[in-house]
């Protein structure tokens, strides 16, 4: 079940997973909203590191550019624009928390067991694996051009909608 060889990749994977898990736990448990955003940015960066480990540099740096950079800054901006009083923490319900913990552990156990016992077929190496940025671009503009264009239209509609809603609030 634990067929792991200890090399540099495994070390990097462990460090990145630790960063992501700790970031995620802090995201849920910290008190101040700005601290939560920072721990979420740590998760985003850890995820980007995972993509680098998988030789997907393009996805990795787009992840950093969009999520760790733009989305985090946008959230912090939103937080600063609004006023936040530190709320009193809800009273702890021991039974509720224990049941949640058991449920979470069961879910983890099931997922872990399923992943470890699944037999993943060896992925066929894509052509042009050396330059997967090129392959992504080529696929987007040949095989997947219709979904790609539809998504751009959807994003434009959402963008214009956001402006329209913001303008309405101004009047």
């Amino acid at each position: 079940m634990f067929n792991i060889d200890f090399n540099g990749e495994f070390a990097a994977f462990s460090i990145l997973s630790a960063v992501m898990i700790i970031g995620a736990v802090f995201m849920v448990s910290l008190q101040k909203v700005v601290h939560m955003v920072i721990s979420m940015a740590a998760v985003f960066l850890g995820l980007a590191g995972m993509f680098v480990l998988l030789d997907a540099e393009f996805v990795a740096f787009v992840q950093v550019l969009i999520y760790a950079g733009a989305v985090s800054i946008l959230m912090i901006f939103g937080i600063m624009m609004t006023n936040h009083q530190n709320k009193q923490a809800d009273p702890v319900k021991p039974l509720h928390e224990t049941l949640s913990a058991i449920a979470a552990l069961c879910l983890f156990g099931m997922l872990f067991y399923a992943i470890r016992t699944t037999d993943f077929p060896d992925a066929q190496p894509l052509e042009g694996v050396q330059n997967n940025t090129f392959s992504i671009g080529e696929l987007l503009y040949t095989g997947y051009v219709v979904p790609f264009e539809l998504l751009s239209v959807l994003l434009t509609v959402a963008f214009i909608g956001a402006i329209a809603i913001a303008k309405k609030g101004e009047d």
Partner: protein, 337 residues
């Protein structure tokens, strides 16, 4: 040099890579020290002053003395500041500033990481520094620092968009995101083969957006001293302040090197008969010119108003940079294919 990264990682290789990084760090720190001296001298001369001339011969040790003073100053953290973020912000600011330097090629042989998405790597990591500036401003718990941080977030996000779109033309011409390949695509022998003439619109937008990304005059609103005392780093002193200043000047280095690579042909000579001069010297000359240009702009322009800033970014630079992409695509489709 970058070829070592492809060898298997032995202890010997690790030591070599570590030593080269240390050498490079010293080169960058040396650049920062003398860029500050040079900036003060050049602006002094342009304003008919002498500039620093007391410490050492010709004032050459002035910056060294300034840095020493910063390092031995008392390290203060305001009582009501958010301690954790206050400490984290300078670190988060200078780590990406140094990390982006890894992908810049200086000559055919002299480069560090030969990354196939080098340009994207630069754009992505430099965004993290913006996050650090906002956090620094917020953690200080000071209204001037917060205003400076907010202005900086708005400005840097607005100008990052035209900055990235203005280089799309260059990417299309060289059909690569790798900075080494982009330089290689400009090897025609003459200076008109460099990207700054075919991509003149992109080049102008890139320079304007770059000055804005660097928070330098005429776009230095985040630290407009007449309105905001000093902006996001009001509460910082000692070595934390030094780290903010350090990353600012490391970005000057990075932008100057990136402009050289993207638009000024990297290590290529301007004419075929000048090929005997080593490429690294051409790189340094172009690099030094861009750095001087940044100082020149600072001494020449007044600061623009905050309401003009967003208008310029979104209503002028963004449409023009999109037009540049469109024109480049049309040119490639009609004349090259």
């Amino acid at each position: 040099m970058g070829a070592w990264l492809h060898d298997s990682m032995t202890w010997g290789n690790a030591v070599i890579i570590f030593l080269w990084s240390a050498v490079f760090l010293l080169v960058v720190l040396g650049f920062v020290t003398y860029a500050i001296y040079f900036e003060r001298k050049v602006i002094g001369w342009m304003q008919l002053r002498i500039g620093p001339n007391r410490v050492g011969p010709l004032g050459l040790l002035q910056t060294v003395a300034d840095i020493f003073k910063l390092l031995i100053k008392e390290d203060t953290i305001p009582r009501k500041a958010d301690r954790f973020l206050f400490v984290l912000a300078p670190i988060l600011c200078y780590v990406p500033a140094f990390a982006v330097l890894a992908v810049i090629p200086y000559s055919e042989k002299l480069y560090f990481a030969d990354l196939n998405v080098g340009l994207l790597y630069y754009a992505a990591l430099s965004g993290i520094s913006t996050l650090a500036i906002v956090l620094g401003g917020w953690a200080s718990n000071n209204k001037y620092a917060l205003l400076g941080g907010m202005r900086s977030a708005a400005q840097m996000i607005s100008y990052e968009v035209p900055l990235v779109i203005s280089v799309v033309g260059v990417i299309m011409l060289s059909s690569s995101l790798n900075l080494k390949d982009i330089v290689a695509a400009q090897s025609g022998g003459w200076f008109w083969d460099w990207n700054f003439i075919p991509q003149i619109i992109g080049f102008v937008i890139f320079m304007i957006a770059a000055v804005s990304e660097l928070n330098r005059t005429p776009f230095d609103l985040p630290e407009a001293e007449s309105e905001l005392v000093a902006g996001y780093h009001v509460e910082y002193s000692g070595f934390r302040f030094a780290f903010f200043m350090l990353s600012e000047y490391v970005y000057v280095y990075a932008i100057a090197a990136l402009t050289t690579v993207l638009f000024l042909g990297g290590w290529h000579a301007p004419a075929p008969f000048l090929d005997f001069v080593p490429g690294i010297l051409w790189f340094v000359l172009k690099f030094a010119f861009i750095v001087f240009f940044l100082f020149w702009i600072r001494a020449s322009f007044p600061r623009i108003r905050v309401d003009q800033l967003m208008g310029l970014g979104w209503k002028v630079l963004l449409p023009v940079s999109l037009l540049n992409v469109f024109l480049t695509a049309g040119y490639l489709e009609l004349f090259v294919k």
